[in-house]
């Protein structure tokens, strides 16, 4: 029988190993918009959506995968659990001679493949631990094995469901994960093509696979596929990969990120050491080609428009994607902005009369026009990234507005108007974040004076 009165937290802990006691009540309304209890415990909580039968192993697997996918992805145990469950289902299902009545789906193979690829993240150092000449223990899998196994599962699935967009997306994503993790991590400035698989071809394979998946979705009018985070993640992985390749070999000084917001481009050039890859380098071809960046932009625009064809586009995903697209236009605008400002304000004459001057074949007026168009497009997308609860999204727009202001004549009405809009947003953001943007705001106010 329970004691009549609580012992007290300290004494209860001494009496036995303390358990955290939690009770989570259903919010009373049936409206599901209310948040789940935000718990942070070591215990794994798997949320099953209401319509899922908890006795259905595939539904459980899917829930477990989503738990992993949405987590910080730092708990290998969850991943091992998923893989064991995939193995078990694979062995026991009737089609593989077992006695469980489970019909393997494309989703099953996609989860199997992607979880094996994610597991590679936890075993990146195993190869390094084995010194050259050492005999490698047989059972130790290396990173390559994880990816091979992972792709094998996807191919198994594709053998049964050749027209599955889900599986093709999964394959594209796995290749995009493999390139940096298995190959780039082993490269240095002196690496040569001959020692690695062809990176350009591998990347191309991933993107071709992605495109064929997109085509299938379009044919099937399955736009919901673009309304989930997992599909968007492929474009994010591509973006990250192109970034890694772009910056390969460059040494950043400490804490570049935090200063980025207040550093001018010239400062950044000082901070990042420029290096050039040799033509023999496995990443040379990708680094010196613009087609993958164009691919990313086109695919992202298409993703956004497909998402808009769904009944209820996911607002968070939409904001994220719009922000990335907007930022990509801002990046594209950097060069013409820099040409315009150099020709307009930094010319040797200093009197602004150097109208004949050209940089990269552009006059000041041409660069100004291109830059204005790009920033204006960027602003269109950034407007869609406005998040009432995220001051950083306001700042992103404000920064683009300042950039736009810079493209007009100093002191002109247009310039003042753009600065004014930016100032209002920055003040709001600075207030909401108790002074995080003081510096940017002060710079703008000084500029206006």
């Amino acid at each position: 029988m329970a004691p009549k009165r609580p012992l007290g937290l300290g004494k209860a802990a001494k009496a036995k190993k303390q358990k955290k006691s939690e009770i989570s009540l259903e919010p009373e309304s049936s409206a599901q918009e209310s948040q789940q209890p935000a718990e942070f415990t070591n215990e794994l909580t798997v949320e099953l959506s209401e319509e899922v039968n908890p006795d259905d192993p595939l539904a459980q697997l899917s829930a477990l995968w989503m738990t992993w996918f949405k987590s910080e992805k730092d708990n290998e145990l969850i991943l091992n659990g998923i893989i064991h469950e995939c193995d078990r289902i694979n062995r026991n299902c009737k089609q593989n001679g077992g006695d469980e009545d489970i019909e393997l789906t494309p989703e099953f193979y996609a989860i199997f493949g992607r979880s094996l690829a994610d597991l590679a993240n936890f075993h990146t150092e195993e190869d390094e631990d084995v010194e050259a000449g050492d005999e490698k223990p047989e059972e130790v899998s290396n990173i390559s094995d994880y990816f091979e196994n992972s792709l094998e599962r996807i191919e198994d699935g594709l053998a049964k469901f050749s027209n599955s967009a889900l599986l093709l997306f999964a394959k594209a994503e796995i290749i995009l994960q493999r390139i940096p993790l298995e190959y780039i991590s082993k490269m240095d400035m002196n690496s040569e093509k001959k020692d690695f698989p062809n990176m350009h071809e591998l990347l191309q394979e991933s993107l071709d696979t992605y495109e064929s998946a997109v085509k299938i979705c379009e044919q099937e009018k399955n736009f919901e596929m673009f309304n989930n985070e997992s599909t968007l993640e492929i474009l994010n992985s591509l973006d990250d990969l192109l970034d890694i390749i772009d910056n390969f070999g460059k040494q950043n000084s400490e804490g570049l990120d935090s200063d980025h917001e207040e550093s001018s481009n010239e400062d950044l050039d000082d901070i990042i050491e420029e290096v050039e890859l040799s033509k023999k380098h496995p990443l040379y071809k990708i680094q010196n080609s613009d087609k993958f960046n164009s691919f990313w932009r086109t695919a992202s625009l298409k993703h956004l428009s497909s998402m808009n064809k769904t009944e209820k586009p996911n607002p968070t995903l939409k904001r994220k994607l719009a922000k990335k697209i907007g930022q990509s236009y801002m990046m594209e605008a950097e060069e013409p902005i820099s040409i315009f400002t150099t020709l307009e304000y930094d010319s040797d004459n200093g009197d602004g009369e150097d109208e004949e001057g050209e940089i990269n074949g552009l006059t000041a007026a041409q660069a100004q026009k291109i830059a204005k168009d790009l920033v204006s497009t960027a602003l269109r997308f950034l407007a869609d990234s406005w998040d009432e609860e995220d001051p950083q999204s306001w700042v992103d727009i404000a920064e683009a507005e300042i950039m736009m202001g810079n493209l007009f004549e100093v002191g002109s009405n247009e310039q003042e108007s753009w600065y004014g809009k930016a100032e209002k947003k920055l003040k709001k953001a600075n207030n909401a974040t108790h002074g995080k943007y003081d510096d940017i705001l002060n710079n703008l106010l000084n500029q206006e004076e």
Partner: protein, 649 residues
Amino acid sequence: MPEIKKRSNSEDTQPLKRSNQKKPDSSSSNQPKITIKQTEEEELKAKDYFQSHIFDNEFKNNLKDSIIDSKPFQWGTITNLIDESLLKNVRVEIMNEIKFTKKETDIYKVYQTGDLANLSGMSKEDLKRLPNLYKLRSAIYSKTFRDYISYITGCDRLSGLKTDMSINTYTKSCHLLTHDDVIGSRRVSFILYLPEPGKVWKPHYGGSLRLFDKIVPNVPKSDPYCKLTPQFNQIAFFKVQPGLSFHDVEEVKVDKQRLSIQGWFHIPQFGEDGYKEGEQELTEAKSTLQQLESKELREFDFPKVNFTRVLNNINDESFLKLNDFDISYLNKFMNSQLTSFKTMSNLSEIFINESVIDIHNFLNLEYSSILQRNLKNFELNEFPKMPTIQEDIKYPWKLAIPSHKQRYMYIDGLQKQPILNESEIKITERQSLETPNFQIIQNLKEMTMSNMTKNENDDDDGVDDSLITIKLCELASFMRSLSFQKWLFQITNLKVLKDQIIIRRFRPGFDFILATKLNEDENGAGDGDFSCLDGVLEATLNLTPSKGWETGEFGGYELCMTNDDDDSDTDSDSDSDSNKETNKFNEDEAAIYKSSDKNDSVLYESQACWNKLNLMFRDENVLKFIKYTSFNSVGSRWDISGCWKCKDE
């Protein structure tokens, strides 16, 4: 979940010291230690390790004068102290050779060196891999520099034998809260800064050294008096003055490394120049006394412990049953499942066994959605902007002080209590404390709100605190209600006699409560009222509307630990001689943070979150704290804390 270490009883707050039970595990630590005593050769070289300008007489005397005139206590700083290339090499050695580990307690978050916790213990192995660091140590503890520091600070001789310095690095979100460095035989504290050379460390990066003036000795003011933005090769130093030398390390706000070597000059040891028999013991005794006084001094603590007797007929258990009116009142606020007999009996069973329970979705959806929306809207559009200095906090909000114990904003339902300086506090102390009345505050706010006309703020989206204050006061009133007390009885089987309810806001970049156990006034029967049970029933209604707190990186979490020091003291009596030796070696070392590698001293932890009620019966040895809330957190931590003394029967 961040690694949580428990501080020892020592009130000292310096992070970077050897923990007394940690077995040295690096190979270097088992090596014979190199003698600290400088050789003549080293002594001769020492001067060359410094930049020559500092020995210039005019420079030296100007510095001395500036220290005499310095405020809020005697301190000084020298830029370009060490030979530039030596210090750059030291930095390279540290970055390449030394591994840092994140350590977090209630008072700091910092990256500490693991195997070289205190540079006084450098071995021959260390010397091989850290030759420049060794040179730097020789320089700092050379007679030349010790005499220099003695001269400019006007303090007595300093020990060259007892060296005491360590390396730590503050990265984004690292901080060290207010403390006075007083412990053992320390005479002068110093910090040599090594952020990235060739770059200016800007004020908005954070990480500055902030000095605090006192309200009275042992009680620092809440706002810093001044701050020093550290640059590469700059040293800051101050005389360790019991109850006066309060300082902190402002949180680093950006993704940069603020590396530093910090340490102390101690009073001369036996056999050294300037050694005075008995001085060590006297200084240590003074330090201990000061710590005790500081700990016991509660006159300057706000909010006051102020329990109010509740009006109910607790002797009649039938009275404590919830009737239809109670239930309908409670359901205005609470999730209606909580007033069902079945749920109450489930909760009660858990609580009586565990003494703690977390109830998610405590407030009903309608009430909580409106409140959350209002709080979010207020945080994003707060006008006037969030108060950052004491004077800006306007009634009914108040500031919790003193800053070496706590800092946060609160409403306690009581009258105005001016506490800016000693005389205000002395007068406030003498005021009668009325019974808290959140309802009146709510009504007053409602009146002023309806009378308010929009003015110059018209075209802004600014939102003042009226609406959220009204809402929070309404909830505080609800927590003081008879119906809620009856509900508490249903869950806890405890009959409440006295209560204290406080609405709290922990602002990003400012607020925290350090770990404390219940003091006499707080503990049930501690104030001499033996009708009260030992221990208290406590509740925290978590009302943080923003997201992103789950990992604890932003701080703001609530944590309880056991306080079994008495037991460990007893255990140490039976320790082996070598352990005794270790304890002795460490007894005057600063922050001896007990390592609890298994974290088994943590009894309860709860991240800041939305709409969760935590109930616990807290016994007197349970330490509780609210972790400092990071500047980079999305918003404030909000909660309503309740504390009830219950009937002993």
